[in-house]
Amino acid sequence: MPIKIDEDNLKSGLLGLVVALVEIIQDVLEREAMRRMESGRLKDEEIDQLGKGLMELDAALEHIKKENNLDTIVRSVRADLDKLVEETIDIMANPERWEREMEKTEVRQ
């Protein structure tokens, strides 16, 4: 799957890709933070510290996106990645259907 990068503006394309990837990492970090918060093993201050750190990351990302006008490109990269992941999972879940799809494009003798 080609990731569409705006060729007229490689910088914003590349930056958009990086921001999209950091956003995905952010998502994972937030999930993990919530898991820890719910585990009950963290003190209240620790939870607050963790939250603050993630909040700062979020603010920084939003700032970079706004500054560089990256909203659209980040969204499109993430949509592309989502689609890729969905297709990959689909191939693993339905190998028979994909085999048929492949056959469809071949010339049968």
Binding site: M34, M37, I47, D48, Q49, L50, G51, K104, T105, R108
Partner: protein, 241 residues
């Protein structure tokens, strides 16, 4: 009349026949989008004409090609006769209709408020220092998202069951589709292909009309189409023999 002005004719076997044209034994391919669109439209046009002429037609997908001559097609008709005949009988007088149901994006925003767990979370957020509140806020967003999905699912299931009663067959399309421009700001909660008899379609139309009137709902109802979604594997493979 056919693709690239090819001559379209019929190959008959008993009381059934295939509508065909001669072409090379390789799939149609082009980089030119306009040309591809034209091919598809022509394919559609021929199916429409055939439907007018013979009333019930099994629409094969564009690019279904037989390797051989008229005899090969006839042999296929002979081999598949029983299956084709059964399908023709099943499709008689029927057509495919597309049904898509949309709801306003904020339709489900308010509904989950009544949920006690969510109400408690909201209270908690107000009383926490901002770092902890941020994490709880994230948790709340995720919960709300989930609730909305559950709710949208419930609505979709109910509609699906209602529609199913009014038509002869239903196929659920689960692939994610772009929401058309006209319905921007809404999400699609149901995407169906329905096979319905022409005499019965008014019932479905009435029911969907009512749904369309509901606050926050919109329905897209299209057709009649050739019953592509209901011909199973027959239309699936490209080049045969």
């Amino acid at each position: 009349m056919g693709i690239e002005d090819s001559h379209v004719y019929t190959v008959a076997f008993n009381d059934i026949g295939a509508v065909v044209h001669r072409c090379e034994t390789k799939p149609y391919k082009t980089e030119d989008k306009e040309k591809a669109g034209e091919w598809i439209l022509t394919h559609q046009y021929v199916i429409d004409l055939a439907t007018k002429e013979f009333s019930t037609v099994i629409p094969l997908t564009f690019d279904t090609i037989f390797k051989g001559d008229d005899e090969t097609v006839q042999q296929w008709l002979r081999e598949e006769y029983r299956q084709l005949k059964t399908m023709l009988e099943r499709l008689e007088g029927k057509a495919e209709y597309g049904v898509q149901v949309f709801v306003e994006n904020d339709f489900f925003e308010k509904a989950p408020e009544e949920n006690e767990e969510i109400w408690k979370l909201k209270k908690e957020i107000e009383n926490k220092p901002k770092g902890a509140a941020y994490l709880l806020q994230k948790k709340l967003e995720r919960k709300l998202e989930l609730e909305r999905k559950v709710l949208a699912d419930k609505y979709a299931k109910n509609l699906y069951n209602e529609i199913k009663k009014l038509v002869d067959d239903v196929k659920l399309d689960t692939t994610k589709k772009e929401v058309p421009e006209k319905w921007k700001g809404k999400q699609m909660i149901l995407n169906l292909a329905c096979l319905a008899h022409k005499d019965k379609i008014q019932n479905l139309g009435n029911m969907l009309g009512e749904v369309d009137e509901r606050e926050g709902f919109a329905v897209r109802f299209t057709g009649p189409w050739p019953p592509y979604s209901f011909v199973g594997e027959i239309g699936r493979s490209k080049v045969r023999r």
